[in-house]
């Protein structure tokens, strides 16, 4: 007994740490850093750095900045009044509307793209109802911008809204009593205090718009070459892998710089004001102007967020156009064909498996991703929970995959793994790379929160480290583990960029299948895209709701 204890004390600090890091680091080494080094090697090749390639890259970079900046501006335009609405007023259906604005952020990009296509596209509902109102939407810059606003408004609402509601109302009252009118109160009191939160949220929105892929590819088309889209095009369409590598390195540097600036702003933003109870600022709209503002804006918000989301399932049940090559009469109207067709394997259809198999593939990949990312994330989070110098070095390395785009991960796999590309493991590997930082960041604070006394008490009562882990850590960690698992699950389910590059055509995932169907002519293909996108939307929503349900009884255990 004495000897074992001594041994444990002797073994613990370094060997345990190395043991913890062994698996996650070797995974990252193989699946991330090796492909990354191949990409860098390809980029630094003198044949890649030609003036022609550099010119093209700078054009692409410029456009990426341009569209991200425009998207961010528009998002602020909708987000700031919304944040004000939620932070200041109480009205019926408020919490529901607030939840609604947050939904798009969690939805896969293909679902959002399909939703907008179902509403505003040339084959969508509005176009079919009013055929003469034809206006171009798909393939325009507007489509991209609006989808980005749709996605990211919730960030502004949350971050700026929090800052607004924790604003000390006395400040405002004091300014007014000194004779300042509303405009001056805003300009001289409120805005300066909100500035860091506006800046931080805008930067976050900008980062998401900068790295956006699915929305741009599906709604804008290949005309709008952002870095992400251009990397994809240079891999699969106009093959030029060195150029693709160069673009991904530029992309990586940009995201890292933006993230660094963001982190600096956030650390400064948190010391701004003394937080007040949020309740004190919220009241019912009183004056006519306030009533008009709340009603009109709540209506605007709910239609903006509800229309694309509801068009999708609606469109999946209506036949509005002929099938590919169907010359006879078309039975327009309600139909369940698009769902039934998912179960049929037709030779000459887009897939040679019944399309519903994509759902099984997606679920299988998502399950594997959950397992893999928990398996890798737990030891890493354990080590990071009590950081030593080693962890301070390793932490940014572990988070690096977050800065590289999904398309870049796919490119890395393609140029690194050659014959291994047949392996069905590659897709969950790529998904795990995307999910791992989220999993670690979810587990790490939970692990750190476990009182050390409890562990010591258990150990002094003779429990082995494994028993301590099982009886003390695990119950406390259940909630965090569940949250991390859902994160990994939903990320895998909706992942599009990397999967598009590395998935085998016979094992499509749902997002890849939707992209294939969307790009094909005829009512049947389009209808199946709508049906699958509806399924994916429901799956994602269900997994989010499920976790919410799990969390309530679990939260009592703390």
């Amino acid at each position: 007994m004495e000897n074992i204890k001594k041994l444990r004390v002797f073994v613990s600090p370094w060997l345990v740490r190395i043991g913890l890091w062994l698996i996650p680091l070797s995974f990252l080494l193989v699946a991330f850093f090796y492909p990354l080094s191949r990409i860098f090697a390809l980029t630094l090749d003198p044949r890649t750095l030609t003036s022609e390639n550099l010119l093209l890259a700078s054009e692409v970079l410029l456009f990426t900045f341009y569209q991200a900046a425009l998207s961010t501006l528009l998002t602020l335009l909708l987000g700031l009044p919304s944040a004000y609405l939620f932070a200041r007023y109480d009205f019926r259906g408020k919490s529901l509307l607030r939840a609604l604005t947050a939904v798009p952020f969690m939805l896969p990009t293909v679902v959002v793209a399909a939703g907008f296509s179902a509403l505003l596209g040339p084959r969508g509902l509005i176009h079919s109802l009013f055929p003469f109102s034809s206006f171009p939407f798909i393939g325009t810059l507007w489509a991209i911008l609006i989808a980005h606003v749709f996605y990211n408004t919730t960030i502004i609402i949350r971050v700026v809204g929090n800052a607004l509601s924790s604003l000390d109302p006395k400040l405002e009252a004091a300014a007014r009593s000194l004779g300042a009118d509303s405009l001056r109160v805003w300009r001289n009191v409120i805005l300066p205090i909100l500035r860091p939160s506006i800046l931080a949220s805008s930067l976050l929105v900008f980062l998401f718009d900068f790295t956006s892929f699915g929305v741009i590819l599906l709604l804008g088309g290949s005309r709008f070459g952002t870095l992400e889209v251009e990397i994809y095009l240079r891999v699969l369409r106009l093959p030029n892998l060195p150029l693709a590598a160069l673009l991904s390195v530029i992309q990586l540097i940009c995201t890292l710089v933006i993230s660094l600036i963001y982190t600096r702003i956030v650390t400064r933003a948190t010391v701004q004001t003394a937080p007040r109870s949020a309740e004190s600022n919220i009241r019912k709209p009183k004056t006519l102007r306030e009533k008009i503002f709340t009603t009109a804006f709540a209506f605007l918000l709910s239609s903006f967020f509800l229309l694309p989301l509801s068009s999708l399932p609606l469109r999946s049940f209506f036949r509005l156009e002929a099938d590919r090559g169907q010359r006879g009469e078309v039975l327009y109207g309600f139909t369940t064909d698009y769902y039934r067709e998912l179960f049929i394997n037709r030779r000459g259809s887009v897939f040679y498996v019944p399309p519903i198999r994509a759902t099984a593939n997606s679920l299988g990949y998502a399950g594997a991703t959950v397992m893999l990312s928990l398996l890798l994330g737990f030891p890493a989070a354990l080590a990071l929970a009590k950081p030593t110098r080693l962890e301070r070095i390793l932490d940014p390395l572990i988070m690096l995959p977050l800065g590289s785009s999904a398309v870049m991960l796919g490119l890395g796999f393609i140029i690194s793994f050659g014959a291994w590309l047949t392996s069905p493991l590659l897709v969950p590997f790529a998904h795990t790379l995307v999910a791992l930082p989220f999993v670690i960041r979810t587990l790490q604070p939970a692990i750190a929160s476990i009182p050390e006394r409890l562990r010591q008490a258990a150990a002094s009562l003779g429990a082995s480290p494994l028993e301590v882990w099982k009886n003390i850590d695990l119950p406390i960690l259940r909630r965090a583990t569940l949250a991390a698992a859902t994160f990994a699950f939903t990320i895998s389910l909706g992942e599009f960029g990397a999967t598009l590059l590395i998935s085998r055509p016979e094992y499509p995932t749902i997002p890849v299948a939707i992209e294939r169907f969307l790009s094909q002519p005829g009512g049947l293909n389009y209808g199946q895209a709508m049906a699958m996108a509806t399924l994916l939307m429901l799956l994602t929503l269900a997994s989010i709701l499920l976790i919410e349900k799990f969390r309530i009884p679990g939260s009592g255990e703390f």
Binding site: R123, S134, G221, S222, R223, L233, V235, L236, R237, L238, P239, E321, A322, D323, R324, G325, Q326, R327, G328, E329, R347, G348, V350, Y352, N361, G364, Y365, G367, A368, M371, L372, L374, L375, I414, G418, A419, W420, L421, T422, P424, L425, P428, R504, P505, E506, Y507, S519, Q520, P521, G522
Partner: protein
């Protein structure tokens, strides 16, 4: 922990490829990778499957360009045993990437030499067709509009927004039409495309979408009455019409250099484990039965002169007297540069 590992292994096992199990007792599976427009009669495939105790799977993964690029990227881990649908415009990319194994099919003797563009028989010709502009007859008569007769006519203001073409970066049909304009205008083809762009030419990614969604003369009843398609497409409209038609609802513009001849090839992908069966399938594709099937399934002409043409085909399919000409060497040397120039002018 043990459970987790076990579960992980189970899940990984569950999502591992079912396809690998084909080496067992059942029929051998042969996978043919091809473009979205590939089509063959069920009986024809069945006859091959029964004769060879095999199952043929068609992996359709995009337009011809996309399929070839995918095959090149995965050449160390081939997606299929055969690839059909590389045409003369993309042929050099396939040969340079070295994705095919040479195979001297005995059937090659029956095929005229001008079709055999690869001397070492890595890519074997299967069919050919002429990429031409189709127009919707009803639209032009309803609108009292004269049919354009040449490439130049297409830039006239009365035809603004009426033509849909394919992106040559992704579609071999689009590339063929781009090559027709290169053959006609030489280096100033970009000026011609600028004029077409100013005249609101619509560009989509693939022939499927152009023909079935955008073209007003087909099932999609789309907005454009002119489409870059094939000289044989009008025959397809007659054959597939619900009610018998006396005349084709569409026709082709047969002007100087408005059409470009496309030859499609099949090749055995390097590293296939089923080389013998793949060879048999190549022979089968070049033989009379399959060659006669391609006309009505894909609306192209068979390269094997032994194959007979159906009546509708001889009646409604229009073949230009002369097609725009560019040598394979010229195409190989400049293709990517032409596509890049086109992209700069038309898409940016």
């Amino acid at each position: 922990m043990k459970h987790t590992l076990l579960l992980l292994l189970l899940i990984l096992a569950a999502c591992s490829p079912q396809g690998t199990a084909t080496q067992s007792a059942g029929p051998q599976t042969l996978t043919l990778m091809t473009h979205d427009s590939f089509s063959v009669s069920e009986e024809v495939v069945k006859s091959f499957e029964e004769a060879n105790h095999a199952k043929v799977v068609f992996l359709q993964s995009g337009d011809a360009g996309a399929v070839l690029n995918k095959a090149v990227l995965t050449k160390d881990a081939p997606l299929a045993d055969l690839l059909f649908g590389v045409d003369n415009t993309f042929l050099s990319r396939a040969l340079e990437a070295d994705i095919f194994e040479p195979y001297e099919s005995p059937r090659l003797n029956e095929i005229p030499d001008p079709f055999k563009l690869d001397g070492s028989n890595r890519a074997l010709p299967v069919d050919y067709g002429d990429v031409c502009i189709n127009y919707d007859k009803a639209y032009f008569s309803d609108h009292d509009l004269a049919i354009p007769q040449s490439l130049e006519d297409l830039t006239k203001p009365e035809y603004a927004g009426l033509l849909v073409a394919e992106n040559p970066a992704t579609s071999s049909t689009g590339l063929a039409f781009l090559l027709a304009t290169v053959a006609h205008y030489g280096d100033s083809f970009t000026e011609y495309w600028q004029a077409l762009k100013d005249n609101d030419v619509v560009v989509v990614d693939g022939w499927e979408t152009a023909y079935y969604t955008n073209f007003s003369g087909s099932s999609g009843r789309g907005p454009q009455p002119m489409v870059v398609s094939y000289g044989s497409s009008p025959a397809a409209e007659v054959i597939f019409a619900e009610k018998p038609l006396d005349d084709a609802p569409t026709a082709s513009i047969l002007g100087p250099d408005t059409c470009f001849r496309q030859i499609e090839f099949v090749g055995i992908l390097k590293g296939t484990p089923s080389r013998a069966l793949a060879e048999k399938f190549v022979d089968f594709m070049l033989d009379k039965q399959f060659q006669e099937d391609v006309t009505l399934q894909m609306f192209v002409y068979p390269v094997n002169p032994r194959a007979a043409l159906p009546d509708e085909f001889t009646k409604y399919a229009q073949a230009p007297e002369q097609t725009a000409a560019l040598s394979p060497e010229e195409i190989a040397a400049h293709r990517d540069q032409w596509i890049q120039a086109w992209t700069e002018v038309v898409l940016k």
